[in-house]
Symmetry: C2
Subunit: 525 residues, 2 copies
């Protein structure tokens, strides 16, 4: 498959008419062929018109048809073969095993939502049958289902060129819900985006769906993204990226005549709590595991372990000895874009220059496009009084906060903003202390994990990749895992409709075979 | 039980220190004893501090304990006996059967949520067991549950002094979710509010719960309400009232350093579609039923049928003849407050003075505290071009829009803002036309009903009392029915936690007996 630098607008592929940009080979900083001229506002308007026109048909396709559609997308992505992997490696600088793994994850995610559709609980079918003889008033027949919100704007993420980009989690869950999707491609991997976009476009056609179910727009600037969120035909937004970018979209959405939900996954430093028992028992091993997690993918994960909390002592010393040794040997790694690399360098330099911070370790110097690992330390008093120490550094850098005791760890956690994850390293000796902190952690984060690190977000039914503001703009949801479909659904109730007028999902005979709650109780089948 | 004019702050009852107000006998306009001095910002701070202190304990009470607590509240409300009904009638001017019915509804609602707690699905327990041998990487043990958001601010509604006020739907669903509640009483029924508040306060004590689970604050002005929504200890807001009031709260919530969800049910004119077949078959009967629905409770329902759409003809003539005849004989009715009565009079006068509108009927004149029914007519061209014709008139007034054909009805619906309900009056002859409009209706409203009117919102599992903006500020939810609990919950995921550290809801042995989804499939029990 060739990359042509074209926007995909419904069934069409056409080059934009606005300022062009190119992909950049992450490792070398060299520009890649071809040009990607940006989409025009007319292109945006046409994509929205097609999505709007497709919506009523697409949302009423039966779940099996949408499941098969998602599986076709997955198959088409695999069919691109090595062209996709190669282009993706070029554009992101991520190593081949990571890209191949991420492709598997992307395909697995599409298939997971196919399963969610076949299982059917997501549509929350509820039937309260009429009680014509009830006193003082009869009860009407009431039936509830969840329906798709409407066309969804998805913003590709720089750091997951496949799994959180054109056919990533937001797209998969929105399409599963019955929402057409318009993706604004991330300019850091335009070729990858086009290839995956064509896989979806082909699946739309092969599945006999209205062309407006999917469009893909390129723009090096912000007018297409902002225009999408402001367009009255768009009903929800999925975004993974910076806090500044996410809050800007939230503001645009709130100012519309009809505000819409924005699911922005924005910023997290993912506290790691090193409990005394665990440090004493295996401080050195945890230090090594930490260094591996911190440097994975050049540290470019929203779940990267950016903050470590621990009480000083021989255990912490052992941890730091092995972590710093590992980081000093951890090769500098190519970052996703020159801009990200620069921003990472700036944030590390800012922290290094902070009066209350000392540098514990630094990785070997790399090329101009590479980031080097870094580990810093401060104490809890400084952390509590200096808000900038809480800022995310997007890359392989972390800050150790030395806390005099567990009470100080609690204070730091109370002071923290909302986070995606918290990791606890523990032994049975630490259980009492952990139990004491768990309620606080539950209020601060979306996922609590033991003896591991937040990187490696399993795509599963019980996953929450979300968390209180500003980890996300809407802490009531997850953007990874099967529950993510719920973001793009809303309930509608039908009262006393004749069976012939009810949607198939609610008809008495249950032609779609959906799980149903009758008078509040799940039907046995 | 005596009304004392006291704020209820946790276990305490104490008179406020700010400007006092009194209840007003709706029928006479006379003030009622006692004074209600407003709560101070110190009172607000104390209520929030108590709620915050209660939260971690309360949210982890087991579902059975919370169910029993809700049932105790229900019993305590009934135990107040006729004092409550009498005071409520005085303060609202609503007739005794309505108040008794509303009390039954309120009690039934609390019991419904007790049932929801015992059934347990709302907590969405999901377990994806570890797969230690999975290749290329083992899968961790993942467990998900929904947890309570945090302390909730509830604003009492003027038009449901029991069912959407101190112990109403928002309070019942928030308490069920595990959220402490601070109610800002509606100043239109302070005595009713205090009596019900004491019933809850008593139940908190009798159930051995932390006192901060419930507080009730009075304020004739807006500083307590605004302060509540801005307070960082408050995690969500439930509101039923005007569009202006609701959007003001949404703005305060969005400007917080940590924005929070606001569930505001705000404004709806509830289109009624009179299809040709139904009008021909039974126009006269529908006209009578419409007049009864319009004038119920002096028209003071958010689901009041304020807009009728029909194609002119003998059927519509018959409808209008019976509707106008019934409305002309429908006695003027006491409105909830002098302010509401004045606002209603103003909105009717504004419509009557509109060049494109004719008055079809007016009810008999009443006293200064009473509203008279009114029916107006315009045509679809005027309706489409004059945005003010779409404004809600809170009271027993409606506007008939004559549409030349079904295509014009569609245009009017496309032009409408989001609504709580749409009512369709049909015969089998109309099915094709209805089928054509249903997709549009699903996008505009929260509940579609056939051969009835939106008034009479059943408290049930399949009810949606919600709808796209501006019917509500968040169209993804319902404020009536068991699904309302979901507004106050968020998912948290637990990865590889030892069983001893897991919350009871997620422990392997399932000590709470909750329904669980294992690897995506609901467990058979």
């Amino acid at each position: 498959m060739t990359v042509r630098g074209e926007n995909l607008i419904g069934a069409q592929a056409r080059r934009g008419t606005q300022a062009a940009f190119r992909g950049i080979e992450a490792a070398t900083g060299q520009t890649l062929e071809p040009d990607f001229p940006g989409a025009s506002l007319d292109d945006l308007d046409r994509a929205c018109a097609l999505a709007e026109a497709a919506f009523d048909t697409y949302r009423e396709t039966n779940p099996e048809a949408r499941a098969a559609f998602l599986e076709t997308i997955a198959a088409n992505i695999l069919d691109i073969g090595d062209d996709l992997v190669t282009r993706c490696i070029q554009e992101t600088g991520l190593p081949r095993p990571r890209i191949e793994g991420e492709r598997a994850r992307t395909v697995g995610q599409l298939r997971l939502f196919a399963g969610v559709l076949r299982e059917g609980s997501a549509f929350e079918i509820r039937i309260d049958p009429a009680l014509p003889d009830r006193k003082p008033l009869p009860r009407p027949d009431l039936r509830l289902r969840k329906v798709a919100l409407g066309p969804v704007a998805v913003f590709g993420a720089s750091n997951f060129p496949l799994a959180f980009s054109v056919a990533g989690g937001d797209t998969a869950s929105a399409l599963a819900a019955g929402c057409p999707v318009i993706v604004k491609a991330h300019p850091a991997h335009p070729g990858t985006s086009e290839l995956v976009g064509r896989a979806i476009q082909k699946a739309v056609a092969a599945s006999g769906l209205p062309e407006g179910v999917f469009s893909l727009l390129f723009d090096a600037g912000q007018s297409i993204g902002q225009g999408l969120v402001a367009d009255l035909r768009i009903a929800a937004v999925g975004f993974t990226g910076s806090r500044r970018g996410g809050t800007a979209l939230v503001e645009i959405a709130a100012k519309r005549p009809r505000p819409i939900p924005v699911y922005a996954e924005m910023s997290s430093i993912n506290p790691v709590l090193l409990f005394p028992g665990a440090l004493a028992a295996r401080g050195e091993a945890i230090g090594r595991a930490f260094a591996a997690s911190l440097t994975l993918g050049a540290g470019q994960f929203c779940t990267n372990p950016g903050l470590l909390l621990a009480v000083p002592g021989p255990g912490l010393d052992a941890f730091l000895a092995s972590a710093t040794a590992a980081l000093r040997e951890s090769p500098a790694a190519t970052m996703l874009t020159p801009g990200i690399c620069r921003a990472y360098g700036d944030s590390v330099a800012r922290l290094a220059g902070h009066a209350a911070v000392t540098r514990l370790a630094e990785g070997p110097e790399g090329s101009a496009t590479q980031g080097r690992a870094a580990l810093f330390a401060t104490d809890s008093d400084a952390f509590l009084s200096e808000p900038e120490l809480q800022e995310e550094m997007f890359g392989a850098a972390a800050l150790v906060v030395r806390c005099p005791d567990l009470a100080a760890i609690r204070k730091v956690l109370e002071h923290l903003e909302g986070q995606l994850t918290a990791s606890l390293h523990i032994t049975p000796d630490d259980h009492a202390a952990v139990r004491d902190l768990l309620p606080l952690l539950e209020r601060r984060v979306g996922r609590i994990l033991v003896d591991g690190f937040g990187t490696g977000v399993e795509v599963a039914h019980a996953m929450v990749h979300g968390g209180p503001y500003p980890a996300t703009s809407d802490g009531r949801t997850t953007s990874v895992g099967s529950l993510a479909i719920d973001r793009f659904l809303r309930p509608v109730s039908y009262q006393d409709l004749p069976d012939a007028l009810l949607p198939a999902a609610l008809q008495e005979a249950n032609p779609l075979g959906l799980p149903r709650r009758i008078d509040g109780t799940l039907e046995r089948r």
